[in-house]
Point group: C2
Chain length 212, copies 2
Amino acid sequence: MTQPRRMGVEGSLMRGRFIDAAEALLRDEGLLGLTARQVASRAGLKTQLLYYYYRTMDDLILALVRRVNERRVARFHEIMASPNPLRGLWALNSDPSGAVMSSELSSMASHREAIRTEIVRFAQQFRAMQIEAVTRLLAERQGFEGSGFEKSGAGIVMIAVALARAIVTESALGLTEGHSEALAIVEAMLDRLGETVPAPSESDARVLSEPG
Amino acid sequence: MTQPRRMGVEGSLMRGRFIDAAEALLRDEGLLGLTARQVASRAGLKTQLLYYYYRTMDDLILALVRRVNERRVARFHEIMASPNPLRGLWALNSDPSGAVMSSELSSMASHREAIRTEIVRFAQQFRAMQIEAVTRLLAERQGFEGSGFEKSGAGIVMIAVALARAIVTESALGLTEGHSEALAIVEAMLDRLGETVPAPSESDARVLSEPG
DNA sequence: GTCTATACTTCGATAGAC
DNA sequence: GTCTATCGAAGTATAGAC
């Protein structure tokens, strides 16, 4: 008596198409664009069909959240196995589409009770993973002696995550005051850790002023 | 022919009541709560009356943005005239209601063309003010020699603003991983600048671990 | 599995009486 | 200056035919 409506099976192809559309919408239009009508329209499907595969919009969003999070964890593990994990983590957090997604999701978490738990639980767990990794990597390397940061893996991760997200979201608005200078500080720190500089990506200014 | 509707005068008392309600709603419910009906309801007034005083919702939001920004500038100048401007600036950026407001406003800027310009223009200008002030204050004080940050007022401000906002918005969701450690780094830096510690405010853990 | 049709709510906004 | 009444669009969601 609690499931009066027919629902599509778990492994359907259509489910993926709706999630794809939802993800694209969230990236391009933000949380306000994530409506049943717009998701269906973007997927080229009928709005009512969405409700055959997902009981509510919250269900669809929850599925999207899980997919985004799984991909993020997968990228994290790839980075940990790569030659320059610290730079890789910085790149992961600075990745525009990922950062926009994280930002919109945590914005949604404030408004939608149903998905807050999932988003917060993952964010907490993923933050802990990054802290554990960075703390270990810092302990293995030299370059931070005397800077007061030796024991501060958790603080460094927190600051880096906050900075990366702010730079991405502000850049999207055309606000760039202080970005290049903050990036220069990050680059200087990564340099001190003795890692090589990867090929710079498309957007965002890189002003590598000589570190003091 | 472009103003077919009657409008209330500029200095009306009712205008302020609507703005008050809008501000409270934006703080408590976020951008999704900022609708004509909810603003009017919160103000204890009729929805249609709102449209007598404001031509569109964008007009009302714009008025709110201007008021919030003016208050922020006023607080900035008070802080500059206070004994501990660096700590004062950190407190300003860490202030929960102010940070939530800034965060919701920049979130709105992504979606509403009409107010983006106003929000971005102010954010850019306010960032520049903070950078100018911090750069000057750092030059006047000792404590950063050898840390590589001497010339990086702009970078420091960017990082501090990003961190403060992240801590506030994450705390509101119950996400606190890495907060106390990041705050310890900030405290250590402020300590190095030789300023005294103000009385700690209500929320947020302060783990003042001994600076390295 | 997909369609048409539709219910109900809330949104921004307007017209015109008082 | 404030009220009642209302519009059209868009929101989530459901029922039932095909």
